[in-house]
């Protein structure tokens, strides 16, 4: 079926040759304003705590992107008396609201139904037909995230990401006796759950592409070993236990059953894959240098990884089946932890130069390197499902220093800390929830 907007575009192109156009005055605008879009979000109708809470989470999601700014309700000239009431566009134009979000929440019998509409205030038009979500009253936060995702995607054109979760390593205790356990939370730090106890050190958690499984590295045996956890029942098993070796830095391939990881044996580490269906293991690299931190391109055709084969840690890209790697990092300093964006356009990395750590992005061909953050210790980037936002670990300096999670837009703007109950490191963003 032809998309209506595409059809409109084709009509537009067909009219391009019209002689009328050639006589029209032509005004060219450049140098646009780049600032958060002001929006109005009256508390959803329907009453009760659910309506107020959902409205608050939607507001926090949108303003948290740095792309939107909420107009305080104290500035409102008129309200929205009911979900189907006509919109007084002039009143919203007068307070410079560019979009208006209205909604309604109905709760009964442990279920809630949330519906909303979005209006372009200055063109005086609804933006689409609105949407409705229904579910358990316990999932009210998810429904709020879904509304915010719909608004965000409709206005920005980016994919959604609020309805997602983040794995992380929760850290407690002093720096020389730190206890670590796996945690998982909403992308905004809410609904924290712990998946392991603190008996063994855990590192590098990673979601499977469908979010149903988790890989992580544990020192339960005294040596680093990769484990696979089922998120439904938290059952856990060790992957590919080869005596005399250490396995670490696991990550799923886009196919969801192949795991790529580093295996160290006799002092040398190389990249291997393990098929969780068949149990077959394949060696991808065979070099005397350290090869680690592998990550697949979203189409599964390539792997990026770090290697010191040139004398210092650098980032390489090679075909997924192995082959000659191509070095893509070329700046001053060392590069580590490359992670391919879910939309394939960038690889995020950690950079170490002049005693400072940076989070940056680079094109897969090595062009357009940009550093987004800088601090005493920034490392371990992970991408939001839409490839627009990066979360990472920031560790503060000194004996009392501890790790926290931060996120940043790929423009380098909107750096902020993600709240966690204790120190936290090694974030891994889930795909969008089903």
């Amino acid at each position: 079926m032809k998309h209506p907007f595409l059809a409109a575009l084709m009509v537009a192109f067909a009219t391009l040759a019209s002689p009328v156009l050639a006589e029209e005055p032509h005004i060219v605008f450049d140098n646009p304003v780049i600032e958060p879009m002001p929006f109005a979000l009256p508390v959803f109708s329907g009453g009760g705590d659910a309506a107020a809470n959902i409205t608050q989470v939607i507001s926090a999601d949108l303003t948290g992107t740095g792309l939107f700014r909420e107009i305080p309700s104290s500035a409102y000239i008129s309200g929205v008396s009911s979900f189907d009431a006509p919109i007084a566009y002039k009143d919203w134009q007068a307070i410079n609201a560019q979009v208006l979000i209205t909604g309604n929440v109905q709760a009964s019998g442990g279920k809630i139904v949330v519906k909303f509409r979005l209006y372009d205030v200055f063109t005086g038009q609804p933006m689409g037909d609105g949407l409705q979500f229904a579910g358990s009253d316990k999932s009210w936060r998810r429904m709020a995230h879904k509304v915010a995702d719909a608004v965000y995607s409709r206005i920005t054109g980016e994919g959604p990401y609020f309805d997602s979760r983040v794995l992380f390593v929760s850290e407690t205790g002093s720096k020389d006796a730190r206890q670590k356990r796996l945690g998982v939370m909403d992308y905004d730090g809410a609904n924290v759950q712990y998946l392991t106890d603190s008996k063994s050190i855990v590192l590098s958690p990673r979601f499977s592409p469908d979010g149903s499984k988790i890989l992580f590295t544990s020192y339960a045996t005294g040596f680093p070993r990769i484990y696979l956890m089922n998120t439904r029942d938290l059952s856990t098993r060790m992957l590919d236990d080869q005596p005399g070796s250490m396995t670490f830095a696991p990550r799923f391939a886009p196919d969801g059953h192949t795991v790529i990881f580093s295996l160290e044996k006799d002092g040398n580490s190389d990249l291997y894959t393990y098929d969780t269906n068949s149990g077959a293991t394949s060696q991808l690299t065979n070099a005397p240098s350290i090869e680690t931190a592998p990550s697949y391109s979203p189409d599964g055709k390539y792997i990026t990884f770090e290697s010191d084969r040139s004398g210092s840690q650098q980032i390489y890209v090679m075909p997924a089946g192995g082959g000659e790697p191509n070095r893509i990092s070329s700046g001053k300093g060392k590069y580590a932890n490359p992670v391919w964006s879910p939309r394939g356009d960038y690889i995020a990395f950690t950079k170490i130069a002049d005693g400072r750590f940076y989070i940056g992005v680079i094109r897969p061909d090595g062009s357009d390197e940009r550093l987004l953050t800088s601090s005493f210790l920034d490392e371990g980037p992970t991408w939001a499902p839409n490839g627009r936002v990066i979360m990472f670990t920031r560790e503060s300096e000194g004996a009392a220093g501890s790790a926290s999670l931060y996120s940043v837009d790929i423009s380098g703007r909107n750096l902020h800390q993600v709240p966690t109950p204790s120190a936290a490191s090694d974030p891994a963003w889930s795909p969008l929830l089903p």
């Binding site: 595409l6 084709m10 156009l21 029209e24 060219v28 780049i34 372009d120 063109t123 054109g157 980016e158």
Partner: protein, 119 residues
């Protein structure tokens, strides 16, 4: 499949600030409200050209998209909407001279976000 990107149309009467007073005022009012800060990274780099028809009172009778710099349909849509938003806001602030209606009743407007300003 989105249509192929094509180069912008020739500028036959490019009214820059030194042009007619109404064009300078309109240009300033529109560009000051043209905000690409909430667009996707692709949309924020997309140039679109709109053909606009205005009433003698300066109200919009019709707008249509005649050009985009990208084959990305979603980015074109967001860039087009941001341009229309700026057009509506800019026209509300402008006083187009009725005596010169023949000159401004149809306009071709190109929004080229090559460079941005931080406020």
């Amino acid at each position: 499949m989105a249509p192929p990107a094509v180069p912008p149309p020739p500028v036959v009467a490019r009214f820059l600030p030194e042009g007619p007073a109404w064009a300078a005022e309109l240009r300033q009012n529109i560009v000051s409200t043209w905000n690409v800060g909430s667009l996707s990274t692709t949309a924020a780099e997309t140039t679109v050209t709109l053909a606009v028809e205005l009433s003698p009172e300066g109200h919009i009778l019709s707008t249509r998209l005649v050009q985009t710099s990208t084959a990305n349909e979603t980015a074109t849509k967001q860039a087009y909407e941001a341009a229309k938003r700026a057009l509506h806001r800019g026209l509300m602030r402008s006083h187009l001279p009725a005596a010169e209606y023949a000159a401004w009743h149809q306009l071709l407007l190109t929004f080229d976000p090559v460079t941005g300003v931080l406020r």
